[in-house]
Amino acid sequence: MNQLGFPILSIMLAVPTAAAIACLYLKDEGARRLALAATLIDLALGILLWATFDSSQGAPQWQFQEHVGVFGRFAWALGIDGIALLLIMLSVFLMPICILASWTSITKRVPEYMAAFLLTEVLMVGTFAAQDLFLFYIFFEAGLIPMYLIIGIWGGARRIYASYKFFLYTLLGSVLMLIAMLWMSNFAGTTDIPTLLQTDFPVEAQNWLWLAFFASFAVKVPMWPVHTWLPDAHVEAPTAGSVILAGVLLKLGGYGFIRFSLPMFPEASSTLIWVILVLSGIAVVYTSLVALVQNDMKKLIAYSSVAHMAIVTIGLFAFNRQGLEGSMMVMLSHGLVSGALFLCVGVIYDRLHTREIARYGGLSNNMPRYALLFMLFTMASVGLPGTSGFVGEFLSLMGAWQVSSWATAVCTTGIILGAAYMLYLYWRVAFGVSDKPDAAAMPDLNARELISLGAIALVVLWMGVYPESFLKPMRNDIGTIVARVDRAKPRFDPDFAVGKPNVKLPVEAAAH
């Protein structure tokens, strides 16, 4: 079965499912505790998964595989490679933190809230672990239901508008993907993702399939111009909802690109690469500028997410190792950092109940621990060397440079603009004069908040200082993808040829 002897992935799905059902029958406090316990069990299982994952040279690509053909047309097939492993780790790491973040800030309908979060966890882990095309689709789509409820029930003032927009936007994107999947499974005669990854689809069909998948993943990532659901959803969602939305749900789009679009349709990816380059370039510059003028903290971070995810997409379609590894690192780093930033916003929102930047100021005086951690995450978001943000952005832009120097040049401005809007935000919130009595009276982080933010901070530094821990599990799998797409590699515009200097050197100089 696998190296552990028990179906660990199914258990990782079963634990939160059972807890979610049990939560509905508990009182508030019991539901909180049970949810925390279940997510911690999943985290422990995740660590076990990582510890036993074989990432040595020549290790099998797919590990921990399970296959039960109970559904007829498709199967309960799970299994992970290094890419999926890291994203599962990201999900199970952020979940307990989300539960902690909601401990006191959610007071109404707590059991249902916890159940919705646990179901979200099931569906996220399931999406990353699914090895059957339609099982993937079911997990991918089903994630909309709990998130719709989380935004709609526990969200802010415009929550209903935001929840509709979130649901319908993503649904419209996804349904076209389903038609493409049906076509693919009929063409290949299988729904098994590893087999489909080896299938060469006809080049003339690839463009259509690629566009159908693009419709789904571009909305999920999100890419400009279909990103508009994201700021609304983030602003209205409760803090933990934003964390999970930015931390993991956006990664489903990136995961989709890396798992399906690129290796299954290499020719189409090459033909249509201009779509990615243009949209990513616009996204970086446009959303960074928009972020610069926001008054709402959550909106600012939401727009910065769009900009960061554009760096992911440009790196993904670079067709080389640096780009792909960089994109994965940006995804992981962004998952942690933007999650942490939303938590930081949540911390002060819980105290003052406003997200307006102008209502704060001088927090470094009365909240020094908070200001320190907030600073760390600000720097990580900017991409300061030594933090996780730097590794990913550097690699991914370096990979992208080999495809299009122009697009990379445009996207690199995002780093500068990112520094501008993040530092501007930090300056307005943490520094300056504490002239607002209510803001100046806010207490510093309590133990619960400190544990949540501190845990993320440690991982952010770990990823920045020793990224090898995170690069190692996916090295083989990235290699497989690079080898797979090599035949369709686009011609690179900065294709420097080695010149032949036409200089006659004096004979005695050559003799030296």
Binding site: G72, Y148, L182
Partner: protein
């Protein structure tokens, strides 16, 4: 084939007809006191007919009637749906001040006979007789609350428009008979396959399909649906949306495949148009509705559109399309019966039924379990995974893609997002809005149990039924080829 065998093949219809006549006599002498026993007897008869429909197969009465895997599949759904409709009626009518009249179960039985005939018909005349038997019972049922103006209006509208549709169908039958010289499906298919399609025959096909499109309430013959659904008593509406839909769809499938199979390229255009028009109109028109029954009426129009996509995928020798239609109808009947069961629980403090969507506000806090069940049905009808309604859509789109109709599938599925909007609206009303006055809580174990069973069936647990459903529907479909 001797007479005994003919009778054996038609055993389900015999059970229902004799049972209906006997119960009618009981009703005449015992009066309305016997309503409940008669109702339970009717349920037993439906169960007996369901069991009887599974066994003997063959062609009876010189090619007028056929019992095969297809008819067995459809009859299982029809009799099951009809039995549930009998069960949910008495409480409703008692709350409306009167008692349920004893004729109600009898009419459902007679309607059941007609529906059985519809899906077993292999001759245009059996088809017509079955359809009329079903319809005449349905007209009476629609106006069953005689003193209620809306119910009477519903019955009258249904009758007038239904009569018009029957006329159109008869005209189509006449043309088909005139140009092929036979009323038997196999003979018609042979005549169509023999040469190029004549204009008269084409008109016959168009008229016959128009008549049946009325019965499945496919656009552009859907106009009666919202009014009749709104006016008819709720249990009757639940019945209209379930069993007769399956019967009419079964009839449509058998007629198009067995009789008009060789002309599939001609009728496919009609089916494609009707499918897309039903999906779009059913989705757009539902958005503005304030009445839950009207909304479900448009939802049924919308769903018929999806089922028709499966029919459009039918090609000679390829049963996937038929199998997908039957799977769709099987899942649809469970979702729709579940939804109407929930609608029956919507009662104000005095116990009167309310039908406004606004009264659902905050249901998740006043009746959490009921709200959860209704949310399951709504998400399932919207076709969102992991609920079983997704699987229904999956199979029809799969069949369409296999038949090379992927543009149709892409347009259809994109339009399904519009319909997701109003299903979400119901969920929003129940979960996001502030509570309206709570519904009157009536403990009815049977209805509560049925809601739980249907909700579980369309929940992710229902996915374990997929292999069984696939086998049965494929079997049913192969019987037609």
């Amino acid at each position: 084939m001797d007479y005994a065998q003919n009778l054996l093949i038609t055993l389900p219809e015999l059970i229902l007809s004799i049972g209906a006549i006997v119960l009618m006599m009981v009703a005449a002498y015992a009066g309305d006191r016997a309503t409940r026993p008669i109702g339970w007897a009717a349920v037993l008869l439906f169960v007996a007919a369901l069991i009887a429909s599974l066994f003997p197969a063959g062609i009876g009465f010189g090619g007028l009637y056929k019992a095969d895997a297809f008819s067995a599949f459809a009859k299982a759904l029809i009799y099951g749906g009809a039995a549930v409709s009998v069960i949910l009626a008495p409480d409703f009518f008692e709350r409306r001040g009167g008692q349920l009249r004893a004729e109600y179960p009898v009419l459902l039985l007679l309607s059941g006979v007609g529906m059985g005939m519809m899906v077993s018909a292999t001759d245009l005349l059996t088809l017509y007789v079955g359809l009329e038997l079903q319809s005449l019972a349905a007209y009476v049922l629609a106006s069953f609350m005689r003193r209620d103006a809306r119910s009477a209006e519903a019955g009258l509208k249904y009758f007038v428009l239904g009569a018009l549709a029957s006329g159109i169908l008869l005209y189509g039958i006449a043309l088909l008979y005139g140009f092929t010289g036979t009323t038997q499906f196999s003979g018609i298919a042979a005549a169509i396959g023999a040469g190029p399609l004549s204009t008269g025959l084409l008109f016959g096909i168009v008229f016959a399909m128009a008549g049946i499109a009325f019965k499945i309430s496919a656009v552009p013959f859907h106009m009666w649906t919202p009014d009749v659904y709104e006016g008819a008593p709720t249990p009757v509406t639940g019945f209209f949306a379930s069993a007769p839909k399956v019967a009419a769809m079964g009839l449509m499938v058998r007629l198009t495949v067995e009789a008009m199979g060789p002309a599939y390229e001609s009728w496919r255009q009609i089916v494609i148009f009707s499918a897309l028009a039903s999906i779009v109109l059913g989705a757009v028109a539902a958005i503005g509705q304030k009445n839950i029954k009207r909304l479900l009426a448009y939802s049924s129009i919308n769903n018929v559109g999806f089922a028709l996509i499966g029919l459009a995928a039918v090609q000679p020798g390829r049963p996937e399309g038929v199998a997908s239609v039957m799977t769709y109808m099987a899942i649809y009947i469970v979702m729709t019966l579940g939804s109407f069961l929930v609608v029956l629980q919507m009662r104000d403090a005095e116990g009167n039924n309310v039908e406004t969507i606004a009264s659902l506000s905050g249901l998740s806090r006043t009746h959490p379990a009921l709200a959860a069940a209704f949310a399951v049905f709504m998400f399932s009808l919207a076709g969102v995974p992991p609920l079983l309604g997704f699987w229904a859509k999956f199979v029809v789109f799969d069949a369409a893609v296999k038949a090379g109709l992927w543009p149709l599938a892409a347009i259809g599925i994109a339009a399904s997002v519009i319909s997701a909007f109003y299903y979400l609206m119901i969920v929003k009303t129940m979960y996001f809005d502030e509570p309206a006055p709570a519904y009157h809580r009536v403990e009815n174990k049977i209805e509560g149990g049925l809601i739980a069973v249907t909700a579980l069936a369309v929940s992710p647990l229902g996915y374990f039924l997929i292999p069984l459903l696939a086998d049965l529907s494929t079997n049913a479909a192969q019987a037609l080829f």
